[in-house]
């Protein structure tokens, strides 16, 4: 184990442009002759469309076009897994955020004004809003043509784990804890709302720029709506103001609609969402209903029976993938012999749900990490001790039968480091447990949570990535990987990895603004896979370039190719007095008609999964994390004050330490929002809070000082040694808070966000 030093100066390739206001986000771009498009919604939640009247809107000054589903030349319905999303509603309104038309005008304010003049004639249908009702036989169907396992129903997917024999195992247990948990809708709250700018180009290509985290997914949506080939669409990257998983389908849909308008009008069209539209239409983190039964025998978690119901809302999006991770990780980072898990994704007429940072783990961790504390208390031992008795260690077997022996299982390290830094156990002894000091209304508590997390996509999808490295005639280097910069610092990490491999300074390397027409589809920038997959590809490409350089330069450097060394921004032969600069090296290559260019691919090592039994090596490697919190709860007002948040995370190898710290701090903050503040409130299918006055995300004053501990154990299966940190940092703080609130108040909360009940003044416990 190497514990990284902190306090190093940060470096990012885009930092200068971001602190000067020069960084161009999609809505900052202007193109000659550009028109503006806006979406039109209806007041309906579920309705059959009879007609959409657009005449009045069309005659509004400045309006160029009002576009409805009938104008789509390509596919009306699209989606990442099921093609169930109507990019413009055609037959039915399935949720309140369905877009029924697009208004395009010379000026945005004209389009906004005209959008109010579009009229929908529709026959309202009773909305299906309860996911448990939607699961029942005979429930009305959200998608009449949807068939799952041979029958029409609302189920999008059913994942299972069948390990051991739970019913027999429960009988052997000393006690069984049975609880129901509910988690809420979360809005990603990226600071930049969605935007897309589409330009019909002279060569027949539709050029797309947008605020997105998956350019290749955007390209598929755009090509689908236009009825075009993938090669007819080029998606280029611009600065993105945060994604957190939320700028996949939704961002692609905005770009697809802008492209449709651009195609119809044959002119550039920009479509920028305002915050209210973004809240209304964009997918959310799934609310879960979790029925959990945990059996304890001899101080060990002996058996777990879990039923998970995830509300997918009106469209499937990536619900099967999100809920698959929940299934794989349904027992947390503990060894459990007997597991029976059934996870359902289900259609309703609520806002649709999809990827969000954590991707199915925050919901489960909220349940598991509280259950573990409950079990410890029933046993009369400390929750620290109970975790130590049950947690995964080197060589442990996961609940899907995967033996953890290909990497360092660092759960004990992250746990011990957190305990030490917090002085946790002595603080645990000081918790109020519902009894405040005589002169104070503040109840003190501390709590923590542990997790493990499968890296990258695992058995949920194809997993590989590529990179291109291209040395220019003057020795400068262009680098590109098929991972997207959403603000997290992916480009900077890749430059640092390449510079490390080549022994050059970062100044020599420029990250090429990526385009879907230049590099092959490397999948989406989600699943904390940017650094591990993109970085892996960068290492592969860089090593291939080094091989080419060594082959071509060995004669000139009077040595064997294997003797060539790359450091000090030069290329050396056997001794330090024999070297070439990069410029000289490229010149030599050109003389030999060799191109100093390399393409590298990193293919994720093999994973496996059996849908029926839930057995398999679900992910090729894992990361481990621990987060803890200290807080007070005011027993009169219920107000929670966070005093300190501490995290320890294993990252494989740290590439850009200040950015890792930033991910951890930001993840803890978002996790605190999940635990205490944030909730998209839906009433009768309509979202009630659509801006930051009513949907509250943590502000600076809501948060305490934070501490982050980064643990490095290079991963042999990652070419760069690095793993990922984006999601692990966001999946632990809510349960840590729930445990701390319990330790403060003596009251357990089984729903997130925690709604603290205020103690009756005369009822001091």
């Amino acid at each position: 184990m190497k514990q990284a030093e902190t306090g190093k100066k940060a470096w990012r390739n885009d930092a200068y442009s971001k602190v000067t206001g020069q960084a161009e986000y999609c809505d900052d771009l202007k193109v000659h002759g550009m028109a503006h498009a806006v979406p039109v919604y209806s007041s309906e939640v579920h309705a059959e469309i009879i007609s959409i009247e657009t005449e009045e809107a069309r005659s509004f000054p400045g309006v160029l076009s009002v576009i409805t589903a009938g104008d789509i030349p390509g596919e009306i319905r699209y989606g990442q897994i099921y093609k169930d999303y109507h990019m413009l509603a055609d037959d039915r309104i399935r949720f309140n955020g369905d877009v029924i038309a697009i208004v395009v005008a010379q000026k945005r304010e004209q389009a906004v004004a005209a959008a109010k003049l579009v009229r929908l004639n529709a026959k309202p249908l009773p909305p299906l809003l309860d996911p448990e009702e939607a699961l029942k036989d005979g429930a009305s169907l959200v998608h009449e043509d949807h068939i799952f396992e041979g029958k029409s129903c609302n189920i999008t997917n059913h994942h299972k784990i069948r390990r051991g024999n739970v019913s027999a195992a429960f009988k052997e247990c000393d006690f069984v804890i049975e609880r129901k948990f509910n988690t809420q809708y979360i809005e990603h709250s990226y600071l930049e709302p969605e935007s897309g700018l589409c330009i019909p180009r002279y060569d027949g290509v539709m050029e797309v720029m947008g605020s997105m985290q998956h350019p290749f997914s955007t390209r598929r949506f755009v090509a689908a709506i236009l009825g075009a080939k993938l090669s007819d669409v080029e998606v280029r990257s611009v600065a993105v103001g945060g994604g957190f998983g939320g700028k996949d389908d939704t961002a692609a849909l905005v770009c697809a609609r802008a492209a449709l308008a651009a195609k119809i009008l044959n002119k550039p069209v920009k479509m920028t969402y305002d915050r209210e539209w973004s809240f209304r239409e964009s997918y959310k983190r799934h609310p879960y209903i979790i029925y959990y039964k945990m059996g304890i025998k001899n101080g060990k978690i002996h058996a777990a029976e879990v039923k998970i119901i995830a509300d997918s809302g009106a469209y499937c999006s990536v619900t099967p993938w999100v809920t698959w991770r929940s299934t794989v990780q349904c027992c947390g980072p503990y060894e459990v012999e007997h597991v029976h898990c059934d996870t359902y994704g289900v259609y309703t007429n609520n806002v649709f749900t999809g990827a969000m940072r954590g991707f199915g783990s925050p919901q489960l961790n909220f349940a598991i990490e509280q259950l573990v504390d409950i079990a410890a208390e029933k046993l009369g031992i400390s929750p620290v001790e109970f975790r130590k008795q049950n947690m995964l260690r080197q060589g442990s077997t996961t609940i899907t039968g995967q033996v953890l022996d290909t990497h360092t299982v660092s759960l004990d390290q992250v746990f011990e480091e957190t305990l030490k830094r917090m002085d946790y156990e002595s603080k645990l002894a000081k918790c109020s447990r519902g009894r405040a000091d005589e002169n104070s209304d503040e109840l003190y508590g501390t709590g923590l949570a542990l997790s493990y997390r499968g890296m990258s996509l695992g058995a949920e999808g194809m997993d590989f990535n590529s990179a291109i490295i291209n040395v220019q005639p003057d020795g400068s280097i262009l680098l590109e990987a098929a991972i997207h910069e959403n603000g997290q610092g992916a480009e900077s990490a890749f430059i640092l990895i390449a510079a490390g491999e080549l022994g050059t300074s970062v100044d020599r390397i420029r990250y090429r603004q990526p385009s879907t027409s230049n590099i092959p589809d490397g999948g989406t920038t989600v699943a904390s896979r940017g650094t591990i997959m993109g970085g892996g590809a960068v290492v592969t490409a860089t090593r291939e370039l080094k091989r080419k350089l060594a082959m071509a330069l060995c004669c000139r450097l009077s040595c064997n190719p294997g003797d060539i060394r790359f450091f000090n921004d030069r290329i050396y032969g056997k001794t330090d007095d024999v070297f070439l600069t990069y410029e000289q090296a490229v010149h030599e290559m050109y003389l030999q008609q060799e191109i100093p260019y390399a393409f590298g691919v990193f293919k994720a090592p093999k994973v496996s999964w059996d849908e029926e039994t839930g057995k398999g090596n679900a992910y090729f490697t894992w990361v481990y994390g621990c987060q803890a919190v200290e807080l007070t709860v005011n027993r009169k007002t219920g107000k929670v004050k966070l005093l300190n948040m501490t995290a320890a995370h294993e990252v494989g190898r740290a590439i850009n330490m200040p950015m890792i710290l930033g991910q951890i701090y930001g993840g803890m903050a978002m996790g605190a929002g999940y635990g205490l503040m944030e909730e998209v409130k839906v009433k009768d299918g309509i979202i009630q809070n659509t801006n930051f006055n009513t949907y509250k995300i943590p502000r600076a004053a809501d948060l305490p000082e934070m501490q982050a501990i980064v643990i490095e154990n290079g991963d042999p299966l990652s070419p760069s040694g690095a793993k990922g940190i984006g999601e692990p940092a966001n999946e632990l703080m809510a349960p840590a808070i729930a445990n701390a609130v319990y330790n403060a108040t003596g009251i357990r909360y089984y729903s997130s966000p925690l709604k603290i009940t205020v103690e009756n003044e005369n009822n001091n416990k």
Binding site: A15, V19, T20, G242, G487, P658, Y665, N693, I697, A700
Partner: protein
């Protein structure tokens, strides 16, 4: 109407007076460093300074800046693009991630440090509370502002 923006004098015609200030800065003056994150003055991404006071441009009309000295993020750096110490500090402390909140955050911090060049971390925390950031948890932003304070005074 007459205003100074980033040390440049602008004569604005009266028809502009009732327009939204943020839209005007972005669309007419091409000062796109101020961002529209919420349109309701809730996120602070549109923050500019008017007479050294932090102002949410999305909540103001153009007439608001009549006779005032305005500073936007484009005016923070010096000749030749030399960064203001506060901007450099944001870079060095890792306070920049997606960058969408960064211009507003820097300007809010600038207005604060002009008034208080020896703040506590809690005072900084309070000062940037009007500005939302979803990436950083504010920790390194506070580091950056504390680190830059020595340059004010």
């Amino acid at each position: 109407m007459k205003t100074t923006i980033n040390n440049k004098v602008y004569e604005l015609n009266d028809e502009a007076a009732d327009r939204n200030l943020l839209d005007y800065l972005r669309e007419e003056l091409d000062l796109t460093g101020a961002k529209n994150g919420c349109g309701k003055g809730l996120c602070g991404a549109c923050t500019i300074l008017a007479d050294n006071k932090a102002v949410k441009a999305c909540r103001q009309k153009v007439s608001f800046i009549d006779g005032k000295e305005v500073l936007t993020i484009e005016g923070m750096s010096g000749p030749g693009g030399k960064l203001h110490p506060l901007q450099q500090s944001f870079i060095d402390c890792g306070a920049v991630q997606c960058g969408f909140c960064t211009p507003g955050m820097i300007l809010t911090a600038h207005a604060f440090l002009l008034k208080n060049n020896n703040p506590s971390r809690d005072e900084v925390r309070k000062a940037i509370t009007p500005n939302l950031c979803r990436c950083t948890g504010y920790q390194q932003i506070i580091d950056a502002i504390m680190n830059a304070a020595v340059n004010y005074g």
